[in-house]
């Protein structure tokens, strides 16, 4: 967060800032179509890529920005919140003081079981939505906002329903106004609990939300003072949440609110929290912070300050509206540049959802959720208020082993055997044709001739006594093994 002395993962080469955000006019092909689908969504099947490549670039971006309604997707799971409330009531009656009492232990065990069940169902629900949605950019932006305005379910008493409700704020405003999202989040029960604002009052203002709102969500360190933190914390006093036994939900507690005059970022007034959000989004640092986050998520890491400034100007001109901003970014020269291509590390969610989509698989399994956890990213569970660091922090020898083993699990799973995927369809091709198909479909050709040759030798099996030559008998198994090997190549870890 403090910035490093020299950028380590900024792409080599130099930026032409005057043309960076101008519309890209170069050739349009399957390779770039796949790039667009990976970045603006979660990748796609070979058919998705072909369809996108078959449209003009403008139409492909329009289809992502003006996304269809996703009403046909399954709704949020039943979240057992009612059970929680009932169990808490029972717990209160049984007397929580007497913690060793058998009946209390029984209720606690049941709460633990329900919590785990709910956890699995909500994570699966969102993952399956990312995989199956007809509006991938909507889900991608939802993930972006989730990583920016972070909240982690179950911490600080945040219920599954509250976490999912917050998730819908992000989804409903996916390409809406960043400022509006900040307003919604400032009244969001999950956030107010997560950052301790729900218990903040005029006598003891809690600074946690006020601080993180500026430090992590909107401005960044150095763009406000400690006095601004204290004053804005006063403004947010009384932004509170009803307890679960009273049905939950936001309420403004007038008695706890400090309605005196505050001086905040050079302005004075008897501000409330919404006034604070308005003042924040008038700071020049606000569009720059958002531009930095968008570029790191969608284009490349450690973007040049000039590029940040150029995108910040677009954001400010569009009054923080994301639809025109993303529309420009996804058509821009910098987005399709060689410098941006494969310049990001796939997050575990991108890696998993993308692999599912590649093979037309639709429903995540418990094994997949376990793998996500060991890769270091579980939706609804960011590790801290600053979200996922991403980039190089996704990769270490353990997480890479988990990635490889996940792919191996998937290509050999029952699910895969039952799905009629492109991988094993049609008559057995020659080893050469199979290699071209794998490298083309999985990596868009991003493998060296040497690696393609190794893959072909594996497929052919001629040189290895262990395998035997490619035949109708061993074709399916060999293709699965070869798909795994193709996905072991470095390009598959990169977005």
């Amino acid at each position: 967060m403090t910035g490093t002395a020299s950028p380590q993962f900024r792409p080599a080469g130099s930026l032409n800032v005057t043309t960076a955000l101008s519309p890209y006019q170069g050739p349009w092909n399957a390779r770039l179509a796949a790039h667009l689908l990976r970045r603006a969504g979660f990748g796609g099947s070979p058919d998705d890529v072909a369809r996108t490549a078959g449209m003009p670039l403008d139409a492909a971006v329009d289809a992502l920005i003006r996304y269809p309604k996703a009403d046909n997707l399954p709704g949020a799971p039943a979240l057992l919140d009612d059970h929680y409330v009932e169990e808490r009531r029972m717990l209160a009656q049984a007397g929580s003081r007497n913690a060793d009492d058998a009946s209390v232990q029984q209720i606690k065990m049941q709460i633990g079981k329900d919590r785990q069940k709910t956890n699995v169902s909500m994570i699966s629900w969102w993952m399956n939505r990312m995989i199956n949605t007809p509006a991938p950019l909507q889900e991608k932006m939802t993930l972006f906002w989730h990583g920016l305005f972070t909240t982690s379910v179950f911490q600080k008493g945040i219920t599954p329903k509250e976490a999912v409700d917050q998730n819908w704020i992000f989804r409903n405003n996916a390409l809406g106004s960043a400022r509006e999202i900040a307003h919604y989040v400032s009244r969001d029960p999950a956030m107010l609990k997560y950052l301790d604002n729900a218990r903040s009052n005029r006598a003891h203002p809690n600074e946690n939300y006020a601080r993180e709102l500026m430090e992590l969500f909107t401005l960044g360190i150095g763009n406000y003072t400690e006095a601004d933190v204290r004053e804005s914390a006063r403004a947010f006093t009384g932004y509170s949440v009803y307890g679960p036994l009273r049905g939950g939900g936001f309420y403004f507690n007038q008695r706890d609110h400090d309605d005196g005059v505050k001086t905040f970022l050079g302005r004075s007034g008897n501000f409330d929290g919404d006034d604070i959000v308005e003042v924040i989004y008038r700071q020049p640092a606000a569009p720059r912070w958002l531009a930095t986050k968008l570029l790191n998520f969608f284009v490349y890491n450690e973007p040049e300050p000039q590029l940040v400034d150029a995108l910040a100007l677009v954001i400010a001109k569009n009054n923080y509206q994301m639809a025109p901003t993303m529309s420009m970014l996804l058509r821009s020269n910098v987005f399709y540049s060689d410098r941006a291509y494969r310049s990001l590390v796939k997050s575990p969610i991108e890696f998993v959802a993308g692999t599912y989509k590649l093979f037309g698989l639709t429903a995540v399994t418990p094994e997949t959720l376990g793998a996500l956890n060991r890769m270091g990213q579980v939706p609804f569970h960011p590790p801290s208020v600053k979200g996922w660091d991403g980039g190089a922090t996704w990769l270490n020898s353990q997480t890479v082993l988990v990635r490889e083993n996940f792919v191996n699990y998937l290509v050999t799973s029952q699910m895969m055997m039952q799905a009629s995927t492109w991988l094993t369809m049609g008559p057995p091709p020659t080893a050469k044709d199979a290699t071209d198909k794998l490298v083309g479909t999985i990596l868009q050709g991003d493998a060296s001739p040497a690696s393609a040759g190794k893959l072909e030798a594996y497929l052919d099996g001629a040189d290895t006594s262990a395998l035997g030559q490619l035949s109708g008998e061993n074709f399916e198994e060999r293709m699965r093994g070869a798909a795994y090997l193709t996905m072991a190549m470095p390009a598959y870890q990169l977005n």
Binding site: Q398, Y484, P490
Partner: protein, 407 residues
């Protein structure tokens, strides 16, 4: 080739037949490490994270303070059970093994360790202890910065190692890729069992001659390569280590057994990170914490018995830490809530046994929490300078005096 094999056998007692072109062979063919006190290059730090916030007051018990029994009427440790250090303080009765090590002069207890403006969030406070940066977000860990500065051989995959599923922030470095290994058994490519794939995998996964450029391409290929070779070789490298020590059948017992195996296999490992917990005892604290402290204490005893039997105890320093201590007053559920300062233990090699720092006052509190007397960065700086012999500047930001903990 014969010569190499002979050297390997002579140096580490490994029974593996490593080929000469393995870079491990080169690392292992280096002269035997002396394993003597005061030796430099062979020193190892074992960092034990007590996850969840360990209650310091029921670990190092201030049984001589009347106030302790007033604020801990239900969960206070009965005076005659305390394993006394002196008339004021003593250890939790479940830590008999550690007490014996203390009596032998091998344990330093640092009391009241914390940092200014303590954060009560598990995550943020853990991050603060791991990065040694309470006042800003830092992308590398304190031990990661040590590893980067120590000029370690780039060919060694095991310069440091975390016995964990996910690499802890303390070991995140810029130059050194530290493997996180939950257990030797799980640290493997599942495809290794598949005929023909292993060989193809190793060359495909580290191919950087791709028809695109990416700032991450080299990193990905390097880590894939490390993961593949490391998972293949580590089990063999440590397989020759034999021990008679009887470790408790607990997660911390297994973690420290693996640590002893790695130390004893002379892989050039400087830091091993293990974790133990969860100490987040908001309710019914006594049962949970007593069990965890007993497990820790007994595992440390087995660990040092094992190390000593192989002559490795003097070059192995163990340090515990937890993201925070807990609230002074017990709560209504016979537990304690998140607090601030707590004690640290340093065990084994180099330690000057004794009690360091004053026991924090139980009357002069910060909103119900103990105030810290020793900044944890002083302890870290001591380890960096006196154990590893590196300047702490650039590793621990700020000016923190070292302590007399280590000889």
């Amino acid at each position: 080739m014969r010569r190499s094999r002979f050297l390997l056998g002579a140096v580490s007692g490994l029974t593996i037949a490593a080929s000469t072109d393995s870079f491990f062979a080169k690392a292992l063919a280096a002269p035997a490490l002396p394993g003597l006190p005061g030796g430099g290059d062979d020193r190892v730090l074992i960092l034990v994270n007590l996850q969840g916030g360990n209650d310091g007051l029921n670990t190092v018990v201030p049984y001589g303070m009347q106030q302790y029994y007033r604020v801990r009427p239900q969960i206070g440790v009965t005076p005659h059970d305390v394993l006394t250090f002196n008339g004021q303080i003593g250890l939790n009765p479940e830590m008999k093994s550690l007490k014996a090590m203390y009596d032998a002069g091998n344990v330093a207890v640092v009391q009241g360790v914390g940092y200014p403006k303590p954060d009560h969030s598990h995550f943020r406070s853990t991050e603060i202890w791991q990065t040694a940066a309470p006042d800003r977000y830092e992308s590398t860990g304190w031990l990661g910065r040590y590893l980067d500065s120590a000029d370690l051989p780039e060919t060694n995959l095991f310069n440091a190692l975390a016995v964990a599923q996910v690499l802890p922030e303390a070991l995140i470095a810029r130059k050194v890729d530290v493997p996180a290994i939950a257990a030797i058994q799980g640290y493997a490519l599942s495809s290794d069992k598949m005929a023909g794939e292993r060989g193809a995998f190793s060359s495909l996964a580290r191919d950087t001659r791709a028809p695109f450029s990416s700032p991450y391409l080299g990193t990905v290929a390097e880590i894939e390569d490390h993961a593949q070779r490391g998972s293949e070789e580590l089990p063999k490298l440590v397989a020759g280590y034999k021990t008679d020590a009887s470790y408790p059948a607990t997660p911390i017992g297994r973690s420290l057994a693996l640590a002893a195996q790695i130390v004893g296999s002379n892989l050039g490992t400087k830091v091993i990170y293990v974790q133990h917990g969860s100490f987040d005892t908001h309710a019914a604290q006594k049962g949970t914490q007593d069990r965890l402290l007993r497990e820790l204490s007994d595992a440390l005893k087995a660990f040092y018995d094992d190390l000593a039997a192989h002559g490795n105890d003097k070059r192995t320093l163990t340090m515990t830490f937890s993201e925070f201590g807990r609230r002074v007053a017990e709560n209504a559920s016979r537990g304690t809530d998140h607090g601030e300062a707590g004690p640290m233990f340093l065990v084994g090699g180099g330690v000057k046994g004794g009690i360091y720092g004053d026991h924090p006052s139980l009357d002069d509190l910060d909103n119900g929490d103990i105030k810290f007397g020793v900044d944890f960065r002083s302890v870290y700086a001591t380890v960096v300078e006196k154990w590893f012999g590196r300047p702490s500047a650039g590793i621990i930001a700020g000016d923190f005096p070292t302590m007399a903990l280590l000889a």
